[in-house]
């Protein structure tokens, strides 16, 4: 095999050189591939489609013998119901503030840390990095109770933005991800800046950070999404209705039977649509971010 590798042709040429039977075989394979994937793709899209459709219908239509498959006109009505049930706009604002705060702070902390681990040799570096890596496989459940005691009792932060943001900032995968990203920054460049008299912070902030901007953007999307969708931790530290994030508010509705499903679907649609659009536009960044290192969910 290794002998032949040297003279193996480019993919297109291999195809052209194939005998007719082979080409027919490929066409058959392509046919079966699509035949299998199209229904599966539709199955994967169905829950999203129904979520969008149901958000525009009253509950009576959703539960009717012939449930709707196309949009109706009850979106505004459903939204009003949802707003009345949960003060939805308030929880939306809470979610935006918390996810933004978390994303910005987490990006700053993990890029500073990742930069130090990647670009400096200093006593204790391997030990510290090893310690951080070692905690990577420890489930978040292990920390959740002491975190709660710390945040709710000792720091008295219950129902504040900081209660949600602070503990989640200890993002071990983020620091690993940023360390990898900074490996691509040439040391020569940083040393040149040093010779020109720039201080270490300026080198980080004005030279190294702009170079890793694509990685940072991918990380930002995943951090924002993780915070936006987080449920368990906000559920634990947010106990007042007006401090709820959107997932917590929606979660309180799902368990009840009285509340309209149309309203719940409006909430889930509003929580999801911006990211579906973002995903369509920035698929590459999403994929790069996930492939580059999964962010704590």
């Amino acid at each position: 095999m290794t002998v032949r590798r040297a003279d193996s042709a480019a993919p297109a040429q291999v195809t052209a050189a194939q005998p007719g039977g082979m080409r027919a075989q490929r066409r058959a394979a392509a046919f079966w591939l699509h035949l299998a994937l199209i229904p599966l793709a539709l199955l994967f899209l169905a829950p999203l489609w129904l979520m969008l459709v149901f958000s525009t219908h009253p509950e009576t239509a959703i539960f009717s013998p012939n449930p709707p498959l196309w949009f109706g006109g009850a979106f505004v009505e459903n939204f009003r119901g949802l707003q009345a049930d949960t003060n939805f706009l308030r929880t939306l604002a809470n979610s935006v503030v918390i996810a933004t705060l978390y994303t910005l702070l987490s990006m700053l902390l993990t890029s500073m840390g990742g930069y130090a681990f990647s670009k400096y040799a200093f006593p204790g570096r391997n030990l510290l990095f090893g310690l951080i890596l070692a905690t990577l496989t420890i489930p978040t459940f292990v920390t959740i109770i002491p975190q709660f005691i710390l945040v709710a009792r000792d720091l008295g932060l219950s129902n504040t933005y900081w209660a949600v943001v602070l503990p989640t900032l200890a993002n071990t995968i983020g620091i690993f991800y940023m360390r990898q990203a900074f490996q691509t920054v040439p040391n020569d460049l940083l040393n040149a800046a040093r010779i020109d008299g720039a201080n270490e912070w300026r080198i980080f902030w004005q030279i190294a950070l702009p170079i890793v901007r694509p990685a940072l953007a991918a990380l930002a999307i995943l951090l924002f999404l993780a915070s936006w969708n987080d449920y368990l931790w906000p559920l634990i530290v947010l106990t007042q209705k007006d401090s709820y994030t959107m997932p917590v508010a929606l979660g309180t509705l799902v368990g009840l039977t009285r509340v309209s499903w149309g309203g719940i679907m409006v909430g889930t649609a509003i929580a999801t649509i911006p990211f579906l659009i973002l995903f369509l536009a920035l698929q590459r960044l999403f994929v790069a971010g996930i492939a580059g290192g999964a962010v704590k969910d």
Partner: protein
């Protein structure tokens, strides 16, 4: 194209700089992550309801062994693990191979279909699945009836309720794993396949003899990640099935929540948390031992 060898590590001008860069992260890490790991362990040996001065002992741990609710939660979690992770990863591998295939048209559209669920939050999709699998009015039962099959009482029977949880998790996480596997696939040199094709290997043989062995480290990563994730399963059983019917879909996650944040029995909840951690460690170690030798 410089010929002067670059210094391997940039020289430090200010020795304190790296520490200052790390300090903010480290403070958060130590306070909200490292210390809680230790604290939780210590707590699992105390009866937290007696206060901070409670003596150390194994009461929480021995209670676990005889607690039928805990054993049910453990059994349910392991059942989901054993069923869902292989289903999901088989599907994810097949999808990654399909999405990577040069035979596939409209690749972007297919990727969107399979990757879109990963932007949906657990609460949002739990709500959607709860609605779709509603026994009386759900779309799934309408579909089954339309096909001439009887409706299933999805959320009120143990087996079907478990099936809904597994389906929901598979829907949400398959694309995520497929992305990681796709990245792994793209790391395999095209030349290896061409050489094999010239040697007369069928696509099926190529998959088993080339793709799977070379993909093993990536698969291993997915397995370990999925195991840790599944062991912490919370939102789906909490919102889709309310841990029911009875306790048929109660997981370690929902039981820990109940003990820790409903009964405020922190010591006992910590023992449950450390059981999860121990299981995660054991499963990861087994995986690495069995499949990770060459990676």
């Amino acid at each position: 194209m410089t010929t002067v060898p670059a210094p391997r590590r940039s020289r430090r001008r200010v020795p304190s700089a790296p520490y200052l860069f790390i300090l903010p992260y480290l403070l958060i890490f130590a306070t909200f992550w490292a210390w809680p790991i230790v604290s939780s362990f210590l707590m699992s040996f105390r009866d937290s309801r007696l206060g901070a001065t409670a003596p150390f002992g194994f009461a929480n741990w021995s209670r676990l062994v005889g607690d039928e609710f805990f054993l049910t939660a453990l059994r349910n979690t392991l059942l989901i693990l054993v069923l869902q992770v292989p289903i999901m990863l088989t599907l994810a591998t097949a999808l990654a191979v399909a999405l990577n295939s040069r035979l596939l048209k409209l690749r972007g559209l297919f990727r969107f279909a399979f990757f879109a669920p990963l932007v949906v939050g657990t609460v949002a999709y739990s709500a959607v699945f709860r609605l779709l699998f509603n026994s009386d009015f759900g779309m799934v039962n309408r579909g089954l009836t339309g096909l001439g099959l009887g409706p299933v009482d999805w959320l009120n029977q143990p087996g079907p309720a478990m099936a809904v949880i597994i389906l929901a998790m598979t829907w949400r996480w398959t694309g995520y794993n497929a992305i990681i596997l796709l990245a792994g696939l793209q790391g395999i040199s095209e030349e290896v396949y061409e050489a094999a094709a010239i040697d007369g290997a069928t696509p099926w043989q190529q998959f088993w003899k080339i793709t799977l062995p070379l993909l093993r480290p990536t698969l291993l990563f997915c397995v370990v990640l999925s195991i840790i994730g599944t062991l912490q399963l919370f939102t789906e059983p909490a919102l889709i099935t309310n841990s029911g019917p009875g306790n048929a879909t109660m997981t370690l996650g929902t039981y820990l929540y109940q003990q820790g944040f409903r009964s405020f029995n922190f010591g006992y909840a910590s023992a449950i948390a450390y059981t999860v951690a121990a299981l995660a460690a054991i499963f990861s170690a087994i995986q690495l031992r069995l499949f990770g030798r060459e990676s």
